[in-house]
């Protein structure tokens, strides 16, 4: 019985997830229990969409029971759908949503997503600045560059030379040795 409840719970939450991704789109799929749960929820799909952002386990449970055979949406299902991560997907079928304000090493970051037909169609940065209000680079990665695209330096124009560790012998013929000698 316990196992059955767990399975039903899983099916119900999977169904809610499906609705989340597909609400607004036709659920043409008519496969077994999952599909049944999905279409069952589809009936009340708009109701969920309009409800507040976080579809509580309460509303999830209610939609589960409305849709189809009450057995699937039993008490087990209510608990499961609450924790399944479905609410976000299920509730947000369209519109724009602001993310949390997050502190990163690049400064304060907040993004806004635009959702259409259950799909994220745009991501905009609402806050992407450091304390001084300058915008800063957020995605740092090493890209292929040509030699003349990197910061240039002439040995006469630098004060120190970096490189893989030189042995004390190799140092004697190094650019750093020339610099040091000039500054002795």
């Amino acid at each position: 019985m316990r196992i059955r409840a767990a399975v039903s719970a899983a099916l119900a939450s999977a169904g809610i997830l499906l609705v989340g991704w597909q609400s607004g789109v036709h659920v043409s799929d008519t496969r077994s229990a999952v599909a049944a749960a999905a279409t069952g929820n589809q009936a009340s799909g708009t109701g969920i969409t309009d409800s507040s952002g976080a579809a509580s386990s309460e509303s999830a449970a209610s939609s589960g029971t409305t849709g189809n055979s009450g057995t699937t949406g039993s008490s087990g299902a209510a608990g499961a759908s609450g924790t399944s991560g479905a609410p976000g997907a299920a509730a947000k079928a369209g519109g724009t949503y602001d993310g949390d304000v997050v502190q990163t090493r690049f400064g304060t970051v907040q993004v806004q997503i635009t959702v259409k037909a259950g799909q994220i169609t745009d991501v905009t940065a609402l806050k992407l600045t450091d304390a001084e209000g300058r915008s800063v680079q957020i995605s740092n990665y090493a890209a292929p560059v040509l030699r003349d695209e990197v910061l240039q330096a002439q040995s006469a124009d630098v004060q120190t030379v970096g490189g893989a560790t030189v042995t004390s012998d190799a140092y004697l013929t190094s650019l750093q040795a020339a610099l040091d000698a000039a500054n002795l």
């Binding site: 990665y141 004060q159 893989a164």
Partner: protein
């Protein structure tokens, strides 16, 4: 490096040999000090730095049979009985191994403990703290190609130190430049971000060009890079990540640039370059 070479402040440098390489300390000449006083100050500072390097080398050198590290490798000493300094460095190295998912490791392929990947960076870091404690605000410390700076070559300004990175294919020429420092070490002003590359104090380079392949790869992509330079706020981070990227290839490079606030310039085996924004013109 659009900064025109306005070296109104001439530099003075002192060097010494330790850890199999040469360490040089350069400071700007101070117009407000008597020449002899400035020279004495640099002399004294160099002595402090040399003492620190020598002491660490006597503990960690695997070239010295009587060092604590050598006794550990020979099994005459177990890590729990090792000195506090040894255990602290082991702990630090082990932490970096976790953070780099094994690309940086304090162990040789044969399992022997080898902390030399972190000791030089640690020595530079300690030396930097000593120099600051001595009240020196403007200096450039170069230990065998790894660099830590403080302040500016033009005291009283925020003009950065200009570092060149040697071309692994021809070490008489420079591959690139990078501005270092320009602000007091350890005193980052609020909101002072380093995305523009102007306020990083440390630059470390790892490669196979000078000492042969002493870095062992942990992945199939081991020989992807010939040289890797990393600029960071602190020298141990720069040094460890340069070593890790050298060993871990492109995946580690991407991981490092995503997880740490660094700039990186990597030279592939055939000379192609990969660079983060701070290294680009």
């Amino acid at each position: 490096m659009q900064q025109t070479s306005e070296t109104a402040h001439r530099l003075r440098a002192r060097t010494f040999t330790c850890m199999g390489t040469v360490i040089s300390l350069a400071v700007p000449t101070d117009a407000h000090k008597a020449p002899q006083a400035a020279a004495d100050e640099l002399e004294a500072a160099t002595a402090v730095v040399e003492c620190l390097f020598t002491e660490l080398d006597s503990i960690f050198s695997l070239y010295r049979p009587d060092s604590e590290a050598s006794r550990l490798v020979r099994g005459e000493l177990a890590l729990p009985e090792a000195s506090e300094e040894m255990r602290a460095r082991y702990e630090e190295a082990a932490e970096w191994r976790l953070l780099t998912e094994g690309s940086f490791t304090p162990e040789r392929p044969d399992g022997a403990l080898d902390l030399s990947g972190i000791v030089k960076g640690h020595a530079i870091r300690e030396a930097g703290m000593s120099l600051l404690a001595l009240g020196m605000a403007n200096w450039c410390l170069n230990a065998g190609g790894d660099v830590l700076v403080s302040g500016s070559p033009n005291p009283g300004t925020d003009v950065p130190w200009r570092a060149g990175i040697v071309d692994p294919a021809d070490r008489r020429t420079l591959l690139a430049g990078f501005p270092l420092g320009g602000a007091a070490l350890g005193l980052p002003r609020l909101g002072e971000k380093t995305a523009d590359g102007g306020t990083r104090a440390a630059l470390a380079t790892s490669g196979s060009a000078e000492r042969g392949d002493h870095i062992w790869g942990v992945t199939a992509g081991a020989a992807e890079f010939r040289q890797v330079s990393v600029a960071a706020a602190d020298v141990v981070t720069a040094d460890v990540l340069a070593t890790a990227i050298m060993a871990g290839g492109v995946p580690m490079l991407n991981r490092a640039t995503a997880m740490w606030d660094i700039e990186a310039l990597a030279v592939r085996t055939h000379g192609e370059l990969l660079a983060t924004g701070g290294f680009r013109r």
